[in-house]
Each structure stands twice: as C-alpha cells, then as structure tokens.
Amino acid sequence: MSDALLKVRNIESFYGPIMAIRGVSLDVHEGQIVSILGANGAGKTTLMKTISGVMDPEKGQIVFDGREIQGQEPHRVVQAGIVHVPEGREVFPLLTVDENLTLGAYTDIDRTRINRHRELVFDYFPVLGERRNQEAGTLSGGQQQMLAIGRGLMGNPRIMLLDEPSLGLSPILVQEIFGILKRLNAEQGVTMMLVEQNASAALELADHGYVMEVGRIVMDGPADELMQSEDIRNFYLGVQEAGVRESRRWKRKKTWR
C-alpha cells in the first residue's frame, strides 16, 4: 500500500501527571475512513486533540503527508489540511449558520473558493441552506452537528477528524449523518478519522478500525473483520453470547484476537 496520509507513531500524551495515551501508533490512508473505538476514558478524544495540535504529545511523531506536525499550533495544523470537528459540536450559538461557516474558512482568503465550499456544504446539508440566516444556537442537535461538519468542510480538509458525531442524536439522525459522511468520502474523497462510541455505526462506515483501551490500541483490522470478532461483538456491539441461562450477567474476558 502507498504511504499513509496520516501516520501516528508512538504518541504519549499527558494531562498533568496522568498518562492518557500510552504509546499509540496508527495509519490513515488517503481516501479511507478509519474508526477508533473505545470506552469512556480510553484516550480517543485525547488522541484527536493531540493530532490537531490542541494538545502537545510528550513523545512520538505525527507525520502528515510526509511532514512532522506534532506540537504545532492548531491553526498551522488546520492550514496543513487537518480539520477537527470537536465532540459536542461546539458551534458558535450567537452567530448565524452562514457566519459559522465563514469562520470555518478562516484559513482561506480566496472568496470564490469559499463560496464554492459553502455551496458544497449546502448541497450535502440542504437544511443548513434553508436556515443560513438563523442563529446557530436555535438549531436542533442534529442540525448543529451538521453545521459542525459543514464548518469543518469549509477548511477544505485533506483529512477530517470527527469526534463522536453521533453524540446525543436519535438513531435516525445518526443514520442520516453517517450516510452523508459516507457520500462525502465516496464523492469528494474526504479522508476521515472517526472516534465513536456507537460501534456498529462506526464500523459500518469505516474501512479500518482500531480499538483503544486505557490509552493503548489493543486490536486493529479491517472493519468487516472487526465486526466478526467475538470480543468486539460482545463488548462493543452488544451481542450477547448464547449462555446456558437466560439472565446471564457475567462476561467473558477480553482476549483481543
């Protein structure tokens, strides 16, 4: 396979004395969607923040398109082509949809290109076009999520880091948003790295998956293989093993094979 677009090598990140990421390495290839699964506190968001420059790693490299970018200021990382769509949407509630999108194009000065991107966003998220002059705070949760993704697209990213786009959304909305993400990937060639708790949605969308536990990757593989793994099925997809009793409470130990 060709060299990966984004290469993470042996990253270690800390919150003060607490080691949140204890040596993570992974690859994201151009045009792929990669999902990172893991329970609360596994270090998924920290990993995203470390890539986008919000946090500096203590050790390790992040190589994007052949260039080391670890420890760079976030705006430089955005200029390099990495856009982070944060957890919990974080749209600017008092600005209009349009203004929010304009902010997403902060690094761009070419007006025609900005307008082209805006049209692209409205194309994929028509509801944003309908409400372009409405304050973002008045949008529904799903619409705010769309706006956050749209704002990310305005930066013309080569890779989008999506932190739990399904957070707090109804299953039907999750389906809709994930459908749009899939189309963006297929039609626009946007490479994506996705952090998710909703494992089945994430694995269906992704080409490749990584599973994180307490700051380390414990398992990785093509998404369809992961979906077949007993551990993933038991612990992430909620498939209950057929037991001898109906009300079985214990779970087998994870082996990550």
């Binding site: 090598r9 042996n10 270690e12 204890r22 040596g23 993570v24 390495s25 992974l26 050790k59 390790g60 490299q61 990584y210 380390r216 990757i217 414990v218 398992m219 990785d220 037991g243 001898v244 009793r245 009300s247 079985r248 409470r249 214990w250 130990k253 082996t255 990550w256 094979r257």
Partner: protein, 630 residues
C-alpha cells in the same frame, strides 16, 4: 521395674510457641499434640476464639472473621454436606477464586471425613467435567454465576454429582435447579443437623486418622491428563512441621493470599501453615488488585511465583526510568549501597561498618520509602517457588532490603522439599532438604525425595503411582539436578523433557529455557529439537517490558501481533537468545526462534495455572511456526 509405667512422653521442642516433635520426620507427626489437620483445627479455634483468622474486602472495606467464625461455618458446612449424603472418603470439588469460604469449606469437608479437591476458575466446562468425574466428586462448590454456568453446560457429563452449592447468589435469585442450592441454604441445613446431633461433628473429627486422605490436588501436568495426587493428614502435618523449622512464622504475622488455593503452594501457605502458626490471612480482592492489596496489608511474609516478583521488579524499573534525574541518581546510589550490603549478607558474613553506614543512610532516604510503597516495609521474608527464578532478581530484592529466598516442592511432596532461608541461603540453588525430609540424586541425575510429606499416591491409579516411586520407596520427582557438598540442590531440568537431537545429543531444555526466561523481555520459552538437526525456540515475550522497549525506541506497533512482528523487537529477542547461546555448548545453540504472537491468558490451554507454557500443547498448537524453522 514396673512394666505398667506409661511410655515416656515423646521428646518435643517448642518453635515460636508451637510444640513439635524434637526429631522431625518421626511418627506420629504432631503439632501441639494434634496428629490430623482437623484435630489441629479444632484445637486452634477453641483456643483462639474471637481473634482474627481471616480478612476479606467487602465493598472496599477490609472486614475480619474470627477463628470462631472459621469453626462455626466449617461446622455448618461439614454437617450440612453430611446431611445431604456426603460419606467419609468421598470427594467434594471446589471451583472458586480465593476467599474465606474456600478455607471454611476445605476444613468443613475434611472435618466430616470428606476430601477437598480444588478446580481452577480458569478451567473450561469440559475440564471441570473431567475433574469431577475422575475424582468421583459427590458435591461441587461453585463461586458465582460464571462458574455455575460451567456446571450447567456440562451437567449431563457429570451424573455422579449429588448437589451443587453456590457461594455468591448475585444475579441468580430466579435460579431453579433441582441440584443447586445456595450457601445460606447449606448453612441452614447444617445448623439443623447440628442441633439434631450436637456431638456428631466432633465425633467425625475424632474419626480422622493421620493416614486418611484429606485432600486431592490435581497436578496441572505439562503432559497428559491431570492426575489427582492424594495427600493425607500426615503429609500435611509433615509439611507444617518442615515449614515451621525453616520458615518461622509468628501469631502476629499478616499474610496475603492470592495464588490459586487449588495449588499446593498457596494451600500450604495460606490455609495449613497458618493453622499451626495462628497468623492472619488476608484474601486479595482479585488477581488484578494484588499489588494494591499488598500495600494495604503489608504482609510479614509473602510467597509468590517468579512471575509476580518479576512484575514488581519491572514496575519499579519503569517508575525509576520515568523519575526525575535526581530521583534516578538517588535510586542508583541506594541500589549500589544495597548491593554492597547484600553481597556480605548472601555470603553469610558480617556487614563491615562502612557498608552498613552507607546502607543505613540510603535506606532512610530511598529504600525504606520504596519498600513502603510496595507494601514490603514489614516483610521479613519473601519466598518464591513453582518455577525457576533469575539469580539477578533474587539479588535485586536483597539489595532493596527484601530477603527473598527460593524453595522447591511439588504437589507430591505436599508442596515442600528443599528451601533456602534468609539465614542459610545459596542463590541459584533451591536450598537444602527441609527438616524431616531426605533428598538424594539418583545415578541418572534425578532428584529423589523421601519423608512423611510424600503423598500416598495418585487417585485410582496404582499404575501411575508405582511409576512415581523407586523400588526402595523414594519419590521420583522427574527433575534432574545435583547436590553440592553442603547439601544445596540445584535443578537443571526435567527428565521427561530431555531432547535427543538427530545427532544423538541429549539436551535438557529446561536449563536453556530458564536462562532465556531470566531476560526481562522473555516471559517463557520452549526449546524444540527432539529428533531434529538443531535446536530452535518458541518464545513468549513479556508484554509490558517489550511494549516499554518499543515505546522508548520509537518502534511503532498497534496490537500484540504487530509488536511481535516489529523488526526491532525480533532483533531485541535475537540479542537475548545470542546472549544465552554464549553460555552453552555448540550442540546446545538455538539456531532460530519464533515469537508466539497471540497474547495467551490463563484460560488458554497452552498455559498452566502458574502461567508456564505446556510443552506438548505449545508444540502442537504452533506447529506452523516450528515447521517454518526446519
């Protein structure tokens, strides 16, 4: 002289407040006058009453259970099982993690003449069925719903079971099964039976004879199906006697119980030895919390397998590497001061004043804190056994002020045969024969043992029993070794494992394997080469240390398989193998090796309960790796 004068009292000796025969290894073996485990148990409970026998954590808080509790519950258990139909000489299997009830059941079953047999919680349903059937168990004790499911899965294969007792009813309130009952129900049956026949329980205890089988221990067996070794009351009393002579324990001692009680080592150390020594046993919450529990308990003596000692060492090493430069410098100085002192101690010489002063300073500044952090600040003696341990590791513990000694024993010797003691220690050997036990080296190099601790035989297999003894009645341990002029024994390998290469050379793989294992990066290894042109090795890496190595050298990896596949890791292990090769002759060189790239857990059949690789299963399961090398 009057012929009717009573025989003179046997000569006795008092060790740390407990009376033993003056001449160890003579019949009848008595401890404070008792000649059976249950006799001693009755005596202790009566004398110690409300004093704490066990501690266990309940919802995060340590709680105590007294010797009275020990007695009452064992009594209900014994009377309950008797009422349900348990006869003397019948077996009860216990499938549970360590907990106070394990001890209560062990003694309760034995008190009414039953035989207690432990089953590892990592065993599968079919392994459970094999053990229950082979031992012809009448009852099965299961810890919780997880273990109960194993019975339910294989129920049809175990028709001989009369009943199953569940210790922990969580999640099982709606269980309705004719053979199952909960612990509380058993207590209730026991209470009633006891009220009906108040003298029966003690009468049963009186019936026990030293030669009666008290427990059955299935040997994990790195080859073939597990065999049940029968240990009698006398065997255990002899082990207690031997332990008391070499491994002093006091009634104020605190201990931590965490290795499986199905294993003779922990059973001796945490159930039988404390019966004699009257010390307090604290049960670890789970195998994962041992280190935290250790800090809380700060045991006076601590017995573990080498893997645990290696883990603690690794933790300290990693902490040190991540400390501040000043911290690292101070630790380095302290360790050197400790080493200087340890060298004198290990040679049995007085420590020169200068060395002692340096030690005193660095002990105050660094090592004492380290020991407190590890929960070893009160530790008088650490013990290791069940697998070979690296001499460097032993020296390291002495250097930080923890006297760690190696011993040797097996199920068939009731867990104890030779020991080093802090006062009488030769690193690299397994020590000298314990009091009352004789050890000899047969002409073929095999270590053979004789004593009252030697087991009665294998359960229902006279043939296998006969194979285990020499014609003159010595136990064939299956280990090969030598004995020096002072009586210290060194093990070099297992007889059955001897490899004969295609060139006709006899090689004892254990020697090479244990050298490999002494590397911090290798957790276990199996040497291959029987009938082959040269030797190769299958190696299981130590996950934590190799991950740390990879992380420090910026070697990318995602999961365990990719860690094993990394070139740097293979080079690292190759260097370790090369270092070991330098110590061996040309025919004993390891020409090639492969890493086992799946992370094995205790549930995997390739590992024994003490996490050793089983040679023949490993050879079978990883045949493709072996074939690659030839």
């Amino acid at each position: 002289m009057d012929a009717r004068t009573p025989p003179p009292p046997a000569e006795t000796v008092v060790i740390n407040g407990v009376r033993f025969n003056a001449r160890p290894g003579t019949r009848p073996v008595t401890v404070d006058g008792a000649d059976t485990i249950v006799g001693l148990f009755r005596q202790r409970c009566a004398a110690l009453g409300a004093r704490t026998a066990h501690r266990e954590k309940d919802l995060g808080i340590w709680k105590s259970w007294s010797w009275d509790d020990y007695w009452t519950h064992a009594r209900w258990i014994g009377m309950g099982l008797r009422k349900l139909g348990l006869k003397r000489g019948e077996v009860v299997s216990i499938l549970s993690e360590d907990r106070k009830e394990w001890a209560w059941f062990d003694l309760g079953i034995q008190s009414v003449g039953g035989i207690a047999s432990g089953v590892y919680t990592t065993d599968s349903a079919s392994q459970l069925a094999y053990l229950v059937n082979d031992s012809d168990s009448r009852f099965l004790i299961v810890e919780n719903e997880e273990q109960l499911d194993k019975f339910l899965i294989a129920e049809d294969e175990m028709p001989g079971l009369a009943g199953v007792i569940i210790l922990d009813d969580e999640g099982l309130h709606d269980l309705d099964h004719p053979k199952c009952l909960f612990l509380e129900d058993l207590y209730e049956i026991g209470r009633k039976a006891d009220a009906d026949e108040p003298d029966a329980f003690e009468a049963e205890i009186d019936k026990a004879r030293p030669e009666d089988v008290a427990l059955l221990i299935y040997t994990s067996g790195t080859t073939g199906m597990p065999k049940g070794a029968m240990l009698t009351h006398e065997n255990i009393m002899a082990a207690i006697e031997a332990g008391a002579h070499g491994l002093p324990a006091f009634e104020t001692d605190e201990q931590l119980c965490f290795l499986p009680l199905c294993h003779i080592l922990e059973r001796d150390v945490s159930i039988y030895f404390p019966l004699a020594a009257k010390c307090t046993v604290n049960f670890a919450e789970s195998p994962e919390t041992v280190f935290a529990n250790m800090q809380e308990v700060s045991p006076h003596t601590f017995t573990a397998v080498p893997r645990v000692w290696e883990k603690i060492f690794s933790r300290v090493t990693i902490l040190n590497q991540e400390a501040t430069p000043l911290g690292r410098w101070a630790f380095g100085r302290a360790l050197r001061a400790g080493q200087a002192r340890a060298e004198h101690l290990l040679r049995g010489e007085p420590v020169p004043a200068g060395v002692a002063a340096r030690w005193w300073l660095w002990d105050r500044l660094v090592l004492r804190n380290l020991r407190r952090m590890l929960g070893m600040d009160r530790m008088r003696r650490g013990g290791t056994g069940a697998a070979p341990i690296s001499p460097e590791l032993l020296k390291w513990y002495w250097s930080i002020g923890v006297p760690l000694v190696e011993g040797y024993g097996m199920t068939e010797t009731a867990g104890i045969a030779t020991i080093n003691t802090p006062e009488d220690n030769r690193i690299g050997t397994i020590g000298r024969p314990v009091a009352g036990v004789d050890v000899r080296i047969a002409p073929n190099g095999e270590i053979q043992v004789r004593g009252l601790n030697i087991f009665k035989g294998y359960w229902r297999s006279n043939e296998k029993t006969a194979e285990t003894f020499t014609e003159d009645g010595w136990l064939k341990t299956g280990d090969v070794g030598r004995m020096d002029e002072d009586g210290y024994v060194t093990i070099t390998g297992r007889i059955k494992d001897i490899i004969i290469t295609a060139g006709g050379k006899n090689i004892t793989p254990a020697e090479i394997e244990s050298r490999l294992k002494f590397s911090h990066y290798i957790s276990d290894a199996v040497i291959i080469g029987d009938g082959r042109k040269y030797l190769t090795a299958l190696i299981m890496i130590d996950q934590e240390n190799v991950e740390k190595f990879a992380q420090d050298r910026k070697v990318p990896f995602s999961n365990f398989a990719s860690l094993c596949a990394a070139k740097e890791v293979r080079d690292l292990i190759a260097a370790e193998v090369a270092a070991v090769n330098r110590e061996f002759a040309r025919v004993e060189q390891i020409k090639d090796f492969r890493l086992i790239d799946v992370l094995l857990t205790a549930e995997d059949e390739e590992l024994t309960a003490t996490m050793k690789l089983k040679r023949n299963l490993v050879e079978k399961k990883h045949k493709h790796l072996i074939d690659e090398m030839y």
